[in-house]
């Protein structure tokens, strides 16, 4: 086994995230592939949160149930993780955190005692990092160097103590292995890993920068806030106006004003926040304004499960907002998708003067992974606004529906936009003739958009009998499950553009004898959308809506069950 799954489980506020970030850097530096994801409660202190770190010599990018090593940071950890803890799991923790668990292998490590010896209980986390590093046979020098870098902005004393803590943990781990208490079957990679490590939030944020985003107005809401934070952190280096609005209504209207005046603006939000934005989205439809919306899904209705994951806002994104007008919806499956699609979103929004969505979810934005890098030479940006002449008409009727978009102060024309139905100049009208022409003009843009719709990606053999269908963040989970199933006649069709659906979709579906769709929602929203646009009814649905992402094992098991049933 060259793929180990480490889980850290403790209370909110215990610094599990520090361990995640630091240890990820260390293992990546040593040459491993690394994937990490977290599940956490909607609270600032207490409760039970856990983070999974997958470390492998092969690429790993998906959540799995299996736990090889569990570090318990609270007494509730083992109970919280339930049947994910097995008799194969090595549990490492304080005496009082691992007691009463006679069924499992457990190694007692007095983390807090060691930490107090160094000076403060907070060093427990760094001790854990040192210990894990030793278990993974990572060079001690790499560990101390990375710890030093990680805390470099802190006070000297703190850097020193963290190094001491890492060394203490490392030595402890080294001795455990030496005494034969644990065997971790992982070989150290021979080559350096030159990949970058990102999470979904950073991929979206970088994509926004690459798309020329220079304005973001939003209201904090989990799990979408990270993008606002990311762009705020970069705002001085990249000339971005960042405004935390009083509410989501203000946020989207401000962003529309910014586009009107020539900015490239976006909003980032989640379920309930997006609900407040929907009138503004309709305004974008009417005044034909570009807007980029990052919608990070979480389980609803209402406040739902604020920090958990779900794919249940597809219909909300698609059908929200009154009236009829075109939209584009992307749902990234990989970090690369997150970057390239967000960059593309700004250009498509500008080109077609429509709302473009990046539909992610908590699992996508919060998961870290190493990827080979992002290629800026593959992308380009174009501003589509025009310099206006005196007789400029904002809504000139064009064959393709796209009226050249002027901006105020650039040229001699006047830019008149109105949320009422309007004539070519943007003046209010109730002419039934113009009304019909304007609706047709706006909808004609969808035909143009269709021409550059991204086709779904087929993973596996072209001569499939069974086709598994997925969209957005489930990409890697389904891909790994299908690799494990290892059947040549089972392929995977992944959609990263979910609206409009690529016109060839029906042909790909029809080729299969059996189709199975996997969605992180209760009603198969994408399955319904496929039915609506292609007439094709998908045979089997695997749906999960408990707030957690699918695990590779669950997907594998459920697909196998369906495959067996058919035989």
């Amino acid at each position: 086994m060259n793929d180990i799954s480490i889980v850290l489980c403790g209370e909110a506020g215990q610094g599990i995230q520090t361990v995640e970030q630091l240890f990820t850097k260390i293992v990546k530096k040593e040459g491993f592939n690394v994937f990490s994801t977290k599940e956490y409660m909607s609270r600032v202190r207490g409760g039970s949160n856990s983070t999974q770190l997958r470390i492998s010599t092969e690429p790993v990018s998906a959540y799995i149930n299996r736990i090889d090593i569990l570090i318990t940071l609270s007494e509730h950890a083992i109970k919280h993780l339930g049947d994910r803890v097995s008799n194969k799991t090595i549990i490492i923790g304080e005496k009082n955190h691992i007691k009463n668990n006679k069924n499992f292998k457990a190694i007692e490590i007095p983390f807090s005692l060691h930490a107090k010896e160094i000076g403060n209980i907070v060093f427990s986390n760094t001790i854990a990092v040192g210990l894990l590093s030793a278990l993974c046979k990572i060079d001690k020098k790499v560990v101390t160097e990375q710890v030093k870098n990680f805390f470099s902005k802190k006070k000297k004393n703190l850097v020193k103590n963290n190094i001491l803590a890492a060394e203490k943990g490392y030595n402890t781990g080294y001795n455990i292995v030496k005494k034969g208490k644990i065997r971790v079957n992982i070989s150290v990679p021979k080559q350096q890993n030159t990949d970058i490590v990102l999470n979904g939030t950073q991929a979206i944020g970088l994509g926004a920068l690459a798309g020329g985003c220079n304005f973001i107005s939003s209201y904090p809401m989990s799990p979408s806030t990270g993008v606002l934070t990311f762009l705020s952190q970069q705002s001085n280096d990249f000339d971005i106006i960042v405004e935390q609005a009083e509410d989501e209504i203000s946020a989207i209207n401000m962003a529309l004003g910014a586009w009107y005046a020539g900015a490239r603006a976006m909003v980032t939000t989640s379920g309930g926040g997006y609900a407040l934005m929907t009138e503004g989205v309709s305004l974008a439809g009417m005044i034909e304004s570009p807007i980029v919306i990052h919608l990070a899904q979480r389980p609803g209705p209402a406040t739902g499960l604020p920090t958990r994951t779900e794919q249940s806002d597809l219909e909300h994104a698609l059908y929200s907002s009154h009236g009829e007008f075109p939209k584009i919806i992307f749902a990234p499956g990989t970090l690369q998708d997150g970057f390239y699609l967000t960059q593309k979103a700004f250009n498509l929004a500008d080109k077609y003067q429509v709302p473009v969505y990046i539909l992610t979810d908590q699992y996508f934005v919060d998961s870290y992974n190493n990827i080979p890098g992002l290629h800026l030479d593959r992308i380009s940006n174009r501003n589509y606004f025009v310099k206006t002449k005196k007789d400029y008409k904002r809504y000139e009727l064009k064959n393709n529906g796209i009226s050249p978009r002027g901006i105020p102060g650039y040229g001699n024309g006047l830019i008149c936009v109105d949320s009422d139905e309007h004539d070519e100049e943007g003046r209010i009208t109730e002419s039934i003739n113009i009304r019909t022409k304007m609706v047709d003009k706006r909808l004609r843009k969808l035909k143009e958009i269709m021409k550059e719709t991204i086709p779904p990606a087929l993973i596996g053999d072209e001569h499939y009998k069974t086709l598994i269908i997925g969209w957005g963040s489930t990409y890697h989970i389904i891909k790994e499950a299908i690799e494990k199933i290892g059947r040549k006649d089972v392929s995977f069709l992944h959609f990263k553009q979910i609206y409009p659906i690529h016109p060839n979709t029906i042909n790909i579906l029809k080729k299969a004898e059996k189709t199975i769709i996997l969605e992180n929602n209760a009603t198969s929203q994408f399955g319904k959308l496929i039915k609506l646009h292609t007439g094709y009814e998908i045979n089997h649905k695997i749906l999960q809506y408990n707030g957690l992402p699918f695990s590779v094992e669950t997907v594998e098991k459920q697909i196998k069950q369906i495959l067996q049933r058919g035989q």
Partner: protein, 286 residues
């Protein structure tokens, strides 16, 4: 500049004959002409309602958006291109009712925009219901026994929030209103101009005569830099004061607080993202 520069030819105006909106429109055009602000450099942002139709009736760039939502796009526009003159103009229902939250937070933000409110104390477009500024006891087809909610006082709220410019005018007084508008437009920060405007169709109480009788202009003894005195003026109701209530010159406006304009004054549309900087940032994630 000739006021005719703002004329947009023959247009079908949806206001009632004799409406106070006509006077406000003409006064605004005069103020803009005297300030020599070209239609191309001006953006009027409005919401929904009879007053919000104002940009339709003269030559200007405009963003006639959603009900209650004039202030957020106005802030977005001004911050994306600070060289534009931005006026957010709507009625009392739009700005103080539907858009009340934005009214509060725009004052806090202090963008360099002028906020003109046609305050006729009644809903016009939806035909005669109470507005946030309707007086207690005002009867309508919905408030059948009269308004019981305390009227919204935009001036006291603005002064309480230390707004950088707070004024009230009366649509019937062209000369005085024009001077107030000019001062508001040239003021470098958020400027509130609440304008009493008779609604001849739905408000039979607060008429031209009523406003003439119940208002007076503050004289030079009023210290517009004294916040407490200004607040006292704003809560006078026996006779309603007109003129500039309060001004805070020491406040930085929203655009001045944006770091992107400290060294480079170019509006956003003239800037380009530098890919080499992004490449560097991506590389730092190794």
């Amino acid at each position: 500049m000739d006021i005719k520069e703002y004329d947009s030819g023959s247009i079908d105006i949806a206001w009632c004959p004799g409406c106070g909106n006509y006077a406000i429109l003409n006064t605004l055009k005069q103020a803009l002409a005297e300030l020599k602000i070209s239609p191309q450099q001006l953006v009027v942002v409005s919401g929904i309602g009879q007053a919000a139709k104002i940009p339709q009736y003269f030559k200007t760039n405009y963003f006639n958006g959603l009900h209650g939502r004039a202030l957020p796009p106005a802030t977005g526009i001004k911050s994306a291109n600070p060289s534009l003159t931005v006026i957010a103009e709507s009625g009392d229902g739009d700005m103080y009712g539907e858009g009340g939250n934005h009214f509060i937070h725009t004052i806090r933000r202090n963008p360099d925009i002028t906020n003109i409110i046609h305050n006729n104390m009644v809903y016009g477009l939806t035909k005669g219901q109470a507005s946030p500024t309707s007086e207690l006891g005002f009867r309508t087809p919905i408030q059948i026994t009269g308004v019981v909610s305390e009227p919204f006082n935009p001036l006291s709220i603005a002064i309480a929030l230390d707004a950088s410019f707070v004024a009230r005018a009366f649509a019937g007084d062209i000369k005085e209103t024009k001077e107030i508008m000019k001062k508001a437009i040239t003021h470098k920060g958020y400027a509130l101009v609440d304008i009493f405007q008779p609604c001849i169709t739905f408000n039979k109480i607060n008429t031209y005569e009523w406003f003439k009788k119940h208002t007076y202009y503050m004289d030079s003894t009023h210290d517009i830099t004294n916040r407490l005195e200004s607040f006292k003026k704003s809560i006078e109701i026996a006779k309603l004061p007109l003129g500039i209530f309060y001004k805070n010159k020491n406040k930085k406006n929203f655009e001045q607080n944006l770091k992107i304009y400290t060294k480079n004054k170019k509006p956003l549309y003239q800037r380009h993202m530098r890919m080499e900087k992004i490449a560097k940032l991506i590389n730092s994630k190794k």
